[in-house]
Each structure stands twice: as C-alpha cells, then as structure tokens.
C-alpha cells in the first residue's frame, strides 16, 4: 500500500515537471510517454489538479490537453505588458553604441560613423529607454544638439564608468570585430545614406524594425 503511494507521488512529480517544462499543452497520451507503460494517467492528473486548485498555479484541462496556468483570480496582479521584451532595432543598437563610445556626439557624427542615416525615431527610442540624453549643443554653425549616455545606461549594462567599455583592440581579441565582408552583406539590407537632414521622409524602415 505504501509502495503505491510512493509510486503515485513519483509519477505526480514526473507529470508536474513534464507539464511545467512543456512549451505547449499536452494530451494524456503525450504525458503517458514519460511514465512507465500502463500507468493510469487520468487519476494522477485529477489528484494533481485537485492539489494545485487552491494554489497560485492551477493545473487545467482545455480541449483534452493539460497545462499549468496562473490562477485566474491573480490575473489583475500579474497583468503583463505585451511589449515587455522588445528588442532594440539594429539601428538603435548601433546608434547607442556610437553614442557610448564617442559621446558627446551630434547626429551628423553618428551618421558619419554608421555610414547610414538615422531617423529621428531611433534616438527618441533610446531617450525613452532612459539611456540617452541631450547634452548641450556644439558651438559650430547650426549649433547641433549633442547626445550622451545617462546614468541609467551604465546601470543597465552593469558598467561602473564609460571607461569600462572594451577598447577596439579588446573587441578584436574577443572576436567581436566583424570582418568587412560579413558586415557588408548585412549592410545591403539598409538604405544607402541619403541626402542629409530629411527627417520626415526617412522613417519607415528604421521605425518598423523596433517592434517585435
């Protein structure tokens, strides 16, 4: 008798681990594949569902498939943010890197280093993320705005100071300097630098790759 209870516990453990790690709901048959042949799965699932019922995680069955989900009554507390793990667009990432390494820089300087023009939206995204700030103006004709990184940037990237950024030689040693060929291939997907200062018209391509 106590052996049977031991077995039940062991099988329940396997079932909960399986469902936890699965990337989609599983049918009873799929679950059975992780258990010794002939194990009656249904009673185990029922018992497991019952034991999880009062908890913050529930085991539920929908359309013949089983999965774990957070308890429905906690939904409000756990309200999730749809665009929570947005990736930075390549344009934004490169712009951020250039600002970090060359700050303070003007937009024209960034474009010169990148070799591609950047849209206004790109810097806006970085400012919104709290990583880049305007840092005065350069005293040359036109008095262009300068950009620099923020304290939040250092915190996010775990840097004590900007001087902690690896230098070119170190990037090279770490294998991070891409050879020109590979990089050129990528570059072909981007627009060639157009006549500068046409803010309004160069936005589409840069803007749409920041969404997931």
């Amino acid at each position: 008798m106590s052996d049977a209870i031991d077995d039940d516990l062991r099988f329940q453990r396997i079932i909960e681990a399986t469902l936890f790690a699965a990337d989609k709901p599983l049918t009873r048959e799929q679950i059975a594949e992780f258990l010794p042949e002939g194990t009656p799965v249904q009673p185990l699932l029922d018992a497991l569902a019952e034991s999880y019922a009062p908890r913050g995680i529930n085991l539920v069955q929908r359309g013949g498939k089983w999965h774990f989900q957070t308890a429905a009554d906690l939904g409000d507390i756990l309200r999730r943010d749809e665009d929570q793990t947005r990736k930075l667009s390549r344009a934004a990432l490169e712009t951020l890197a250039i600002i970090a390494y060359h700050e303070p820089v003007t937009r024209a300087q960034i474009e010169e280093i990148r070799g591609v023009s950047i849209s206004k939206g790109t810097i806006d995204v970085l400012m919104e993320a709290g990583w880049v700030r305007p840092a005065g103006r350069r005293e040359v004709p036109g008095r262009p705005l300068l950009y620099a990184t923020t304290q939040g940037f250092l915190v996010h990237f775990g840097l004590a100071t900007r001087r902690d950024l690896p230098g070119l030689a170190e990037l090279k040693a770490a294998g991070l300097l891409e050879p020109i060929d590979a990089a050129m291939n990528q570059l072909q997907f981007e627009k060639p630098p157009e006549t500068p200062e046409v803010d309004e018209t160069d936005t589409e391509e840069e803007m749409d790759d920041e969404a997931l």
Partner: protein, 253 residues
C-alpha cells in the same frame, strides 16, 4: 597533421601512450599529461623524471619528422637547461636556484590541473537545458519598467564591433618618418670607403650632426645593412671582436 604518434616512455609495452600532436594544448598540457602518468600526487612528482620524459617526447616527435611548434621547442630548451642546473651541486647554482624553478613549474602544473578538474566538476553539475528545465511557455509578467528593452552589454559591444568592422577602408596619409634609406647608406658607405684606408668603425660612417633619435636608429640600421650588402658583393670586409663589440669595416684589400 592528424597523425597519431605512438611513443614509448618506459620501454614498457603496457605503458604506451598514444599522442596526437594536434590534440595538445601547448607544452604545459603535455607536461601535465606526463606528470599525471607518474601516478603520484602532483605535489610529489619528480621534476627530473618529468623533464626526461618531455625531452624524449620531443626527440621522438622530431624523429617522426613532425613539425613542432616553436613553443614546444622553447619549453624543451628551457627544461634541458633546468635539468643541467638540477644536476649541478647546489652551491654552483645561480639565482634563482634550480629547485626554485622546478618548484615554480610544479606549482603551474598544479594550478592548471586544479582548473581542469574544476571545469570537469562544473560540467558534471545539473545543467539547465540538460538536467534541469525551466518553464517551457512562461506567460510573462510585468516586471520593472526599465527592463522593457531586451539588450545586453554583449549586444552593444557586438554592434560597435560591427560598425567598426564594416567601415570602408580609408585612405591613410602616413606621416613620413625621418629615414636614412638603404640607397643613401650604400652611396655614403661606398664613397667614404674610398678615403678610409684601414679598419674603420661602422658608426663613423653615419651622417653628421644627427639630432633626431629616430633618424639615428634608421641610419644605424641602414648603414649596417649596407655594410652587409657591400661585403656580400665582395667590396668590403667586416670584423667584430666579440658579440655587441663595435663593428669594423674596410675596403677589401
């Protein structure tokens, strides 16, 4: 070179070691392997025996005409030196003593061994994705506002590396450094040799009134090469009493 080399260390068939030269990670790796073959605690290995084994390894590899990387040969030379020092009576040894050098080698082997062991133990742990799984399909929760961008330092550095890597090769204007060309040196030497009759020190052929250090270095180098060239052509003779002694030059008699 994937050839497997069979080397017999102890003249004993059962102790045969198969060595694949390409598989080694440098001389220290070979030494550690040999040291372990002594089957004692690394703290008690016989360095003399180890040196002997390494030298045999190198000799055999050479016999098999394997190309040995320079660092293997450098280590061999150093170990041969260490061996001769270890065999000297203690009072004739120089500082640092041979014992000290041997001890250093032993400590290095222990440290490498410790890290190799640590790496193995690390890999034996329950690893995510292999032994332990994370949630397969997390719903995601709203965590912190500033974590909304998925961007690591690595991404940033890689981006900068990519920018730098693809930059169109620019035209470089190299600042001309003060140089005394080989042609100038040849001309100068040849013309001056006509007047100098006996052995003359090479430095006296240098251009007069040098103030710039770079230019002096360049002049010495060019004049030296010019002297070699003229000697090769049979126009001059060179003489030097000792290593680093002044170099003398004269017209071939």
């Amino acid at each position: 070179m994937t050839e497997i080399v069979s080397i017999d260390f102890n003249g004993n068939e059962s102790e045969r070691l198969n060595l694949d030269i390409e598989g080694w990670e440098g001389p220290l790796d070979v030494l550690l392997h040999l040291a372990r073959a002594q089957k004692v605690d690394l703290a008690r290995i016989s360095i003399l025996e180890l040196v002997e084994q390494y030298l045999v390894f190198i000799a055999d590899a050479k016999k098999l005409r394997l190309e040995l990387a320079a660092d293997y040969l450098v280590m061999a030379a150093w170990l041969a030196y260490l061996k001769s020092c270890l065999l000297l009576p203690k009072e004739e040894q120089e500082e640092p003593s041979a014992e000290e050098l041997a001890l250093r080698l032993q400590l290095r082997l222990q440290r490498l061994d410790a890290m190799r062991e640590a790496g193995a133990r690390l890999m034996a742990r329950d690893q995510i994705g292999r032994d332990v799984l994370m949630r397969g399909a997390p719903e995601g929760v709203r965590v912190v506002k500033n974590a909304s961008w998925d961007c690591e330092l690595y991404d940033l550095l890689k981006a900068y590396g990519a920018i730098k890597g693809r930059q169109v090769p620019r035209e470089y204007a190299v600042r001309r450094r003060p140089v005394f060309s080989l042609e100038e040196a040849l001309d100068r030497l040849e013309s001056m040799l006509g007047t100098a009759l006996d052995w003359t020190v090479l430095s006296s052929f240098l251009p007069d009134g040098i103030t710039d250090d770079d230019f002096r270095r360049s002049s010495v180098a060019s004049s030296f090469v010019a002297a070699l060239e003229l000697t090769r052509l049979g126009k001059t003779e060179l003489s030097q009493a000792d290593s680093f002694a002044p170099l003398f030059l004269r017209k071939r008699q």
